[in-house]
């Protein structure tokens, strides 16, 4: 099929009344999840995943994806008004958003955030329409060795490029791969690490693991911090929403640059919206003639990260759908949802499931336009949502976690998996380990093992097959480079600290 008829197919699919309703539902919920601090897109997606079992796979993906990119819009509101990131991808928006809010310019800030989000998202969707099919074309020729390399690169990039210690990220991604081993080994039929539980034959339940790690652990960390102090929210006058000409002029070029940076980050497997927003902000600060304005209420400081995180969130669908390698933890959950619907992730989705792929793209356009309406004229609604007390919110979230997880298999066993991973996740968060790489490792681990075993079988045990083709070699080199670069700073920091602690006369232990 040619490009035009594919696009037409996409919009016909997306404009079906049910799909139209479901994308509206998805982006509204996504905005809600984004606005509420402590409720991320991944929590919202996991809670609603069981609902999608009643839909066809296209509608299911349209709704879940809508929650994901909807949250990229909503989170900026909380950052600007309350200096608390609605989701982690909006942490950087606080830096200039809150000062603007204190100057009484929250309205224009939210207006700019909404528009730049739309621009960034649109740029990445265009990119996806033109790039995903040819990438899938190439990926169809991938052998097992190429897949192993692409996936290992994704894992290493996701774990080491995130904020915080790269070693801890690596530890979590490896732990996730280990968890993926649980269950029946498809090659030999051996039950591995099931501790005698028949319920573990098919492996750990993805949703239960995600809910424990993200949902329960985040709620607990919030409760343990005792952050029950009532939020002070500035009232927003809708009339004061329109930005000035100088706001628009200041934001235009940063938005364009940040869209490119964000989309570039999104395409790389493992590099998600959070990193994209940090990079775009840093880039703007560097090219600015007045870098001292940043952090004191510069409009570029909102335009750049907001365009970047939306571009990255949309562009992350490129590797997720055209390679079957998720761009981040949420992409991993979306692929898990496809698997539950009986669709194997991989490049064949783009060609064999054209209705799904192009329907999703059609829904992206509709969803982004809806989000523009939801987040600018209707912003007052979301500001009111912030007045819901957390003490009423978290019991409700825990209830939805319970019923959501239970209704996947109607098995109470999964609730206890949530409890166990809630404990694991809380310990991890307390010790400053990131949770997202674990989930990525958990999803990609079994795929890596399968492809690795196949590659070794083909090459009769000769490991050089892993770097034999140009694509394999390129990804292998990229993996090693990322590892060396990220660990170099860790090792240097450790050595520095060691030297510093040696030089002053230390009292004997």
């Amino acid at each position: 099929m040619d490009f035009g008829s594919n696009v037409a197919l996409g919009f016909t699919t997306a404009l079906q009344p049910f799909n139209l309703a479901i994308v509206a539902f998805g982006v509204t919920l996504g905005t809600l999840a984004g606005v509420l601090p402590g409720v991320g897109a991944i929590t919202a997606i996991s809670i609603l995943l069981p609902l999608t079992f009643y839909m066809d796979p296209t509608s299911a993906l349209i709704m879940l994806a809508g929650i994901y990119y909807g949250a990229q819009y909503g989170g900026s509101t909380t950052s600007i008004l309350m200096n608390i990131p609605g989701t982690s991808t909006h942490a950087i928006t606080c830096l200039d958003g809150y000062p603007l809010s204190k100057q009484g310019r929250a309205g224009p800030a939210m207006f700019i955030a909404g528009v730049t989000s739309f621009v960034g998202g649109s740029f990445a969707i265009l990119l996806m329409m033109f790039l995903a099919p040819p990438i899938a074309e190439i990926a169809l020729k991938f052998q097992s060795a190429e897949y192993v390399n692409v996936m290992v690169f994704g894992l290493v990039a996701a774990s080491t490029l995130s904020a915080g210690s790269p070693l801890k990220g690596l530890a979590m991604v490896t732990f996730g791969v280990a968890l993926g081993v649980v269950g029946i080994d498809l090659t030999s039929g051996v039950y591995r690490f099931n501790f005698g539980f028949l319920e573990l034959s098919d492996g750990l339940n993805l949703v239960a693991v995600a809910m424990g790690l993200f949902g329960v652990a985040e709620i607990l960390m919030n409760l343990m911090k005792g952050a029950s102090a009532p939020f002070t929210i500035q009232s927003v006058k809708l009339r004061a929403l329109l930005p000035t000409w100088s706001d628009i002029r200041q934001s235009t070029l940063p938005t364009v640059r940040a869209s490119v940076i964000g989309a570039g980050c999104g395409i790389l497997p493992g590099v998600g919206p959070t990193i994209a927003s940090f990079m775009a902000y840093a880039a703007e600060k560097r090219v600015s003639k007045h870098p001292e304005r940043f952090g004191r209420g510069a409009m570029e400081g909102i335009a750049a990260p907001e365009a970047a995180n939306n571009a990255a969130a949309q562009a992350a669908f490129i590797p997720t759908l055209s390679l079957g390698v998720p761009g981040d933890a949420i992409g991993a959950v979306l692929l898990g949802a496809l698997l539950l619907h009986g669709i194997a992730p991989g490049p064949s989705i783009v060609t064999e499931q054209a209705g799904l792929f192009w329907g999703l793209i059609g829904s992206f356009w509709i969803g982004n336009i809806l989000l523009l309406i939801l987040n600018i004229p209707l912003i007052g609604l979301w500001v009111n949502v912030l007045r819901i007390p957390y003490n009423a919110l978290y019991p409700a979230m825990l209830f939805f976690i319970c019923i959501g997880v239970y209704s996947i298999n109607y098995n109470v066993f999964d609730i206890f998996i949530v409890v166990i991973f809630g404990i694991v996740g809380t310990v991890m968060l307390a010790l400053e380990f990131p949770a997202a790489p674990l989930l990525l490792g958990f999803i990609l681990g079994p795929m890596i093992e399968e492809n690795l075993r196949r590659a070794m079988l083909v090459s009769r045990g000769d490991p050089s097959i892993l770097i034999a083709s140009p694509i394999s070699a390129a990804f292998a080199i990229a993996t090693v480079l990322v590892l060396l670069l990220s660990l170099r700073s860790t090792v240097r920091a450790a050595l520095d600290r060691a030297r510093r602690s040696e030089s002053p006369p230390v009292s004997s232990p």
């Binding site: 070693l167 003490n391 978290y394 019991p395 079988l457 920091a493 600290r497 232990p509």
Partner: protein
């Protein structure tokens, strides 16, 4: 808690990761390892376990020489939340949606310093009405509202 010469957060993390890696590698020996050409079910977990243990050791090594104390851990919220989840799991099939949800909301609200019974009642009432309407009537999931 402080441990002289070590970043307690990183040290604890490193030791946990190392122990986890050793456990995975040891567990893998229970399955046939095979060889590179024909990897057995134990091969991949063995490699992953060893990698995890090595990363754990590296974390311990890097953690030396700074001193961050372990964070204060408040156990009450943890007990309340997990008690609520376990209660829901244990009662949902035997007693149905209404009693298990009431218990869940009550137990997890004990995590707060001064739980408000008005808010507990309002949250529980809303959730029960919502879930009977959406889950039991609209989606028809096979859970009874109340089973005595």
């Amino acid at each position: 808690m402080r441990i002289a010469g070590f970043d307690a957060v990183d040290l604890a993390g490193g030791v946990l990761v190392f122990a986890g890696g050793c456990a995975v590698a040891l567990g893998a020996t229970a399955y046939p390892i095979g060889e590179l050409t024909r990897m057995g079910p134990g091969y991949f977990p063995m490699v992953v376990g060893i990698a995890l243990a090595v990363i754990g050791l590296a974390l311990v090594f890097v953690s030396r020489t700074t001193a961050t104390p372990l964070p204060e851990v408040r156990l009450k919220p943890a007990f309340a939340v997990f008690a609520g989840l376990i209660f829901w799991g244990l009662t949902i099939e035997r007693f149905g949606l209404v009693p298990s949800t009431l218990g869940l909301v009550f137990l997890v609200s004990l995590a707060q310093d001064r739980p408000s019974f008005v808010m507990i009642a309002a949250t529980a009432a809303f959730l029960i009405a919502f879930s009977i309407g959406v889950f039991i009537y609209a989606l028809a999931i096979p859970i009874p509202a109340i089973r005595l």
